[in-house]
Amino acid sequence: MEIEIISFGKISEFISNQKITIDCGTTDELKTHLENIFPHLAGMKYKLALNKNLVQQNSELKNSDSIAIMPPFSGG
């Protein structure tokens, strides 16, 4: 299936906004997949949002879902 990736902050420096084709069925599988293809991500704190809702537990993915990848910001 195809999903849309939207990234923020430092994460957007190595993951650009894009549509990707995946064979992951859940957000946990997607996380592992993303950390494999973007190894920088594995060393960072980040959170996913699925269709603009924060992912707090493993959730099912379906075609044309959007996934936001967000790091914490601290600057002021």
Partner: protein, 367 residues
């Protein structure tokens, strides 16, 4: 209250004298009189918030002036809080200003924030942000959160219940505080002055909306703003089970916040040297082979991140495994991999700050 001063907002439909009265009665604490705090303070004072506390321990520096618009050349070296208060008082003598020219820490935060109705976090580091968040959770204080990174900003409102009586806080979003150097700050990363100006002003708008009960404040929502594209992206925050809430002042003061998902321990170089004396300890340098400084291979076994998965799946005999790299970021990723493999069967450590931070400790150990 001088109604002539506030006439332009009082005549707004849906605002009126009642909203103005609510602002006059409010007590707001702005923590951080920097890039976010300056514009927020200007608009909150101008709008007629009755009492505003300003907390910041810094003095004005030349490199602040590009974004901290309350300060000028004559203020360099002076207390930010005192200079800001002088300017703000001149803008609006009706607002009572309370000065806190100190660093907010575990021992003073409860006393300082308990006197206010609403807290604005415009600080510039994770340590302060997590402390402010936890203290606001404990005291059930509404918290307006604003932060920037590069050309982007984040705004959220925490500890305010929505219509379903659900409230969230920063740990629902990011349960574990990032370690030093994991996420760069403005000094390392740079910031265009207008960005905290926009984000600080937007967050001040949220403060005014909350106090006057108008519009739809960002309760349980995180707003992302991108200056370069002028795009906004809003996500809904829901409560998380990945952390324990602080329930007592003693817990907050001792930083006794249990993080069950924390799978490794971050240590300093002295603790690492202590551990290295044990036979059951293995110290692993996860940097790639071309990186400097090179370390003594007898003490520090080299397993580059590019080969780490193979190593992690082999049988490791040591009970204590210390991981290190240049800045303590890759070693955290390696520690998480080992924890996935061994769970709580082994004690896994990461050298916080890496070799760069503890260069002197490594000096005698270099090849």
């Amino acid at each position: 209250m001088n109604t002539e001063r506030y006439q332009r907002q009082i005549i707004l439909g849906g605002f009126g004298i009642e909203s103005q009265q609510r602002l006059t009665e409010a007590k707001v604490l702005v923590i951080g009189a920097g890039g976010l705090g300056c514009p927020a303070l200007q608009y909150l004072v101008a709008a007629g918030v009755g009492c505003i506390g300003i907390a910041d321990h810094d003095v004005v520096e030349l490199s602040n002036l590009q974004r901290q618009v309350l300060f000028g050349m004559d203020d360099i070296g002076l207390s930010k809080v005192e200079v800001a208060a002088k300017r703000l008082q001149q803008m609006n003598p009706e607002t009572e200003l309370i000065l806190h020219p100190i660093l907010i820490n575990r021992t003073n935060i409860i006393e300082i924030i308990s006197g206010y109705d609403l807290i604005f976090d415009g600080t510039d580091n994770f340590e302060s942000r997590y402390l402010i968040n936890d203290a606001c959770v404990l005291l059930k204080k509404p918290l307006v959160f604003a932060a920037v990174s590069g050309f982007e900003g984040q705004i959220a409102i925490f500890n305010v219940a929505n219509e379903f009586v659900i409230s969230t806080n920063y740990r629902d979003l990011f349960p574990v505080q990032p370690v030093a150097n994991e996420i760069p700050n403005c000094a390392e990363n740079g910031v265009l002055g207008v960005l905290p100006g926009i984000i600080g002003t937007m967050a001040a708008g949220e403060v005014i909306k909350l106090l006057t009960k108008i519009g739809k404040p960002l309760i349980n929502k995180l707003l992302h703003y991108n200056l370069l594209s002028q795009e906004q992206y809003e996500i809904n925050i829901s409560p998380s089970d990945d952390y324990q809430k602080v329930t007592t002042e003693a817990e907050l003061m001792n930083n006794n916040i249990e993080n069950p998902i924390q799978s490794y321990i971050e240590i300093d170089a002295e603790r690492m040297m202590e551990l290295s004396k044990k036979d059951s300890t293995l110290i692993i340098d996860v940097r790639e082979r071309h990186e400097f400084p090179r370390l003594n291979a007898k003490t520090f076994q080299q397993v580059p991140m590019s080969e780490f998965d193979r190593f992690a799946s082999s049988n490791i005999e040591a009970d204590h495994i210390v991981l290190l790299c240049q800045h303590g970021i890759r070693s955290v990723a390696a520690a998480e991999k080992l924890h996935q493999r061994y769970g709580d069967k082994k004690r896994i450590y990461s050298l916080k700050g890496g070799i760069a931070k503890w260069r002197n400790h490594f000096f005698n150990l270099l090849v």
